[in-house]
């Protein structure tokens, strides 16, 4: 069919300039030595860390040396030389900026290009009643600035970089770090534990509803560098917080490694809503370059009636290996996973979630929308399990895949384990294609092919889009259009 041939043509044309965040920034940086335990000591010393944390890292490092890279995911890539990787790069001039004024102007210019409202004044100067968003900006390995801190502090909310939290709130960090994703969890998480550089820390005290959206923007800039952020969010009893993570990286021929760990802890009656818009560089038309994203994200519904909800929009990265999960430990706790995963060109996505029902009357909901175009591969991999004691566990899973063209693949791999007979697990799955008739209908109304595809795809993912904080919905809709540019003919 002509539509298909043309699709193939168009996909070949996907151009690196379509990735609009592909600029690099010239900033002098300090890098850690490669290859041995000194990396860990170097990083820890750079950050003036207490002894206990250095020990924690070293233990992780030694453990990691004995581990092997996992190979079960449906992704293929050349072997990564972990000996020849920089594990830490920091913008030289930004070691501990006290205020925006001290931040390298080049850095600020970078964030401006990304459209991140770092300057509170600008946000405040915006439309009256416009929602405020507090931002923690992480550049390569270091958190450069966090906004709206005073206003948050008034509410008792701690929002800062994790390095700062280690200094200012060691008791909280010590208590929760590694309590959801243990040091020994998996190859990448263990590596992260050894060499994590920075990331965000959030603590919302008992009974507090965080007064604004919290947001972290991660950007990888330096060459040949792995980025290992560590994020830790704790919602104390009855607290509520909504957090958004955004990511970009410049265009590089070599692949950049990204192996973050995110831990969420929700105590009794608390709720955490964690949203991600992942737009790392996906590689060029031939599949060269792009970010390898090997991320461990897990939430622990530790208290009764607590709730954790993950929403992700995955459009970037050459390889995505990511399973944000919920441990439903508290009785009556609830986990949710809403996902949009778009792959185009030669991208490979293996993503999904795990819902581990441990407590009584726990419930979970999974809505996954995978869109595959070009030569990409898009796999949903999910586990829903009910423990012996998880009486009345309930899950609803719906996995829809949409194919654009006939050179791409979509796969759904659900694992279900119920050790308690009262569990009710429902699973629905569909695979569809954008039909030529639908496309023609749109074209005959004056829409271009790209507009038509973006419109149809945005309709397909609507249920999930609606889960995103309002502030990010319009931006995300546009991003979906951009990611699919050149996907259809």
């Amino acid at each position: 069919m002509p539509a298909v041939d043309e699709t193939v043509e168009r996909v070949k044309e996907i151009d690196v300039d379509k990735y609009k965040y592909g600029f690099t920034t010239d900033i002098e940086s300090v890098k850690a030595p490669k290859g041995n335990e000194d990396i860990v000591r170097f990083i820890s010393a750079k950050k003036d860390e207490p002894e206990w944390l250095l020990e924690w890292r070293l233990e992780a490092y030694r453990r990691w040396r004995t581990m092997r890279e996992p190979t079960w995911a449906k992704v293929h890539y050349p072997k990564i030389d972990f000996e020849d990787l920089y594990y830490y790069a920091a913008p030289k001039s930004t070691e501990g900026p006290k205020s925006l004024a001290e931040v390298d102007p080049e850095l600020l210019a970078t964030y401006e290009k990304l459209g991140i409202p770092l300057k509170e004044q600008e946000v405040l100067a915006g439309v009256q009643g416009a929602p405020k968003v507090a931002v923690d900006a992480v550049f390569d390995s270091v958190s450069v600035v966090t906004t709206f801190r005073e206003e948050l502090a008034k509410a008792g909310v701690i929002f800062c970089s994790i390095s700062e939290a280690v200094r200012e709130h060691p008791e909280l960090v010590k208590k929760y770090l590694g309590s959801v994703v243990p040091v020994t969890d998996n190859f990448y998480a263990t590596l992260n534990s050894a060499v994590f550089s920075d990331g965000s820390f959030v603590y919302v005290p008992e009974g507090v509803r965080c007064p604004m959206e919290l947001s972290t923007y991660f950007r990888i800039n330096a060459e040949n560098t792995g980025q290992f952020e560590r994020t830790l969010i704790i919602a104390d009893k009855g607290a509520y917080v909504s957090y958004l993570e955004g990511c970009t990286a410049p265009m590089r021929d070599e692949n950049q490694l990204h192996a973050a760990v995110v831990e969420l802890v929700a105590l009794e009656d608390a709720e955490i809503k964690y949203s991600t818009v992942q737009n790392w560089y996906p590689g060029d038309a031939e599949g060269k370059g792009g970010v390898y994203n090997f991320v461990t994200k897990r939430g622990d519904c530790r208290g009764d009636r607590s709730k954790i909800s993950w929403t992700q929009v995955e459009t970037g990265s050459a390889i995505t290996w990511k399973y944000p999960s919920c441990i439903l430990r508290g009785h009556g706790s609830r986990g949710e996973f809403y996902s949009i995963a778009i792959s185009n060109g030669y991208q490979q996505v293996d993503s999904g979630t795990k819902m581990i029902h441990l407590g009584r009357d726990t419930s979970s909901r999974i809505i996954s929308k995978g869109i595959a175009a070009g030569y990409s591969d898009n796999t949903y991999r999910g586990l829903v399990s009910a423990h012996r004691k998880a009486t009345n566990a309930r899950n609803f899973t719906c996995c829809d895949s949409l194919l654009i063209g006939d050179k791409c693949g979509a796969h759904t791999i659900p694992y279900i384990e119920a050790k308690n007979a009262s569990a009710t697990f429902e699973h629905e799955a569909t695979t569809s294609k954008i039909s030529d008739d639908q496309l023609f209908y749109c074209l005959s109304r004056g829409l271009s092919e790209e507009e038509a595809v973006a419109l149809i795809v945005n309709g397909f993912v609507r249920d999930v889009l609606q889960q995103l904080p309002m502030e990010f919905m319009a931006e995300t809709q546009k991003l979906i259009g951009i990611s699919l540019e050149g996907s259809v003919g």
Partner: protein, 252 residues
């Protein structure tokens, strides 16, 4: 003015249109009638530029330009509009969003300014009212779960919003009850104007009581077998299409 000369078109390697000639001057409404499978929908798809419909011979000139050189979205911008016999469903896309995207795309291509949100809302409300479409329907996903009548009224709403000057209506009357038929016909008649040409495709004479054509053409075996004034439709109503033969592999 639309001028079709010696049009031959194939679908899946099978010739459906076999030397069709037709001229529709500006301001006129021409009806195309004919038995099932005679190629009426094929003609409408060829005019709108559907890609599986291959033109093997002949020409189509629209306002002095070669229509066959244009992509479907360029034809839309050039004023060609097809009200589909079977409008497509697009899940998850609110009808209103679709209307707005289409109108803005066409306006942009015509060098007109995009409508502001309040302006657009006002215009849609106005036009929807004429077609007795309530705003709740426009918040539903495009054509999903719409009744036959709702789908056809939605087509005419799109037609009035996109302000085309070649309107092709493919069996817009099929599946409509008498009230809906009247509403739709009034909507179409309101769009008649000296600049606009219309091609009204129908199997039945009934519609032509409401939309009175200037000329009637009978399509048979991929060609115009006969042309005449409105009285030709009445004649067909009596005699049926027997004289024109049911086409070999007829389809609705």
């Amino acid at each position: 003015m639309l001028e079709i000369k010696n049009l031959h078109a194939t679908v899946d390697g099978r010739e459906i249109l076999k030397g069709l000639d037709l001229t529709v001057p500006a301001g006129e409404v021409h009806a195309i009638m004919g038995p099932n499978g005679s190629g009426k929908s094929t003609l409408s798809y060829v005019l709108a530029g559907k890609e599986d419909y291959e033109v093997t011979d002949g020409t189509i000139t629209w306002k002095g330009e070669n229509l066959l050189d244009m992509d479907p979205e360029e034809r839309a911008a050039a004023g060609v509009f097809l009200a589909f016999q079977y409008p497509m469903e697009i899940p998850g896309v609110a009808t209103m969003t679709f209307l707005r995207s289409a109108v803005n795309a066409v306006r942009k291509a015509r060098g007109q300014e995009e409508f502001s949100t309040p302006d657009f809302l006002r215009i849609v409300k106005e036009k929807a009212k004429l077609l007795k479409i309530d705003m709740a329907m426009l918040r539903r996903p495009l054509n999903v779960g719409f009744s036959g009548g709702e789908k056809k009224r939605n087509e005419i709403l799109q037609m009035s919003l996109l302000e085309p000057d070649l309107c092709i209506l493919d069996e817009t009357d099929s599946g409509l009850d008498i009230d809906a038929l009247r509403i739709v016909s009034e909507g179409v008649n309101a769009l008649r104007s000296p600049e606009r040409s219309m091609l009204v495709i129908t199997h039945y004479q009934r519609l032509l009581n409401y939309i009175v054509p200037d000329r009637v053409h009978v399509l048979s075996k991929g060609r115009v077998a006969r042309s005449g004034g409105p009285e030709l439709a009445l004649e067909l109503e009596k005699s049926g299409y027997a004289d024109y033969g049911q086409d070999e592999a007829s389809a609705a």
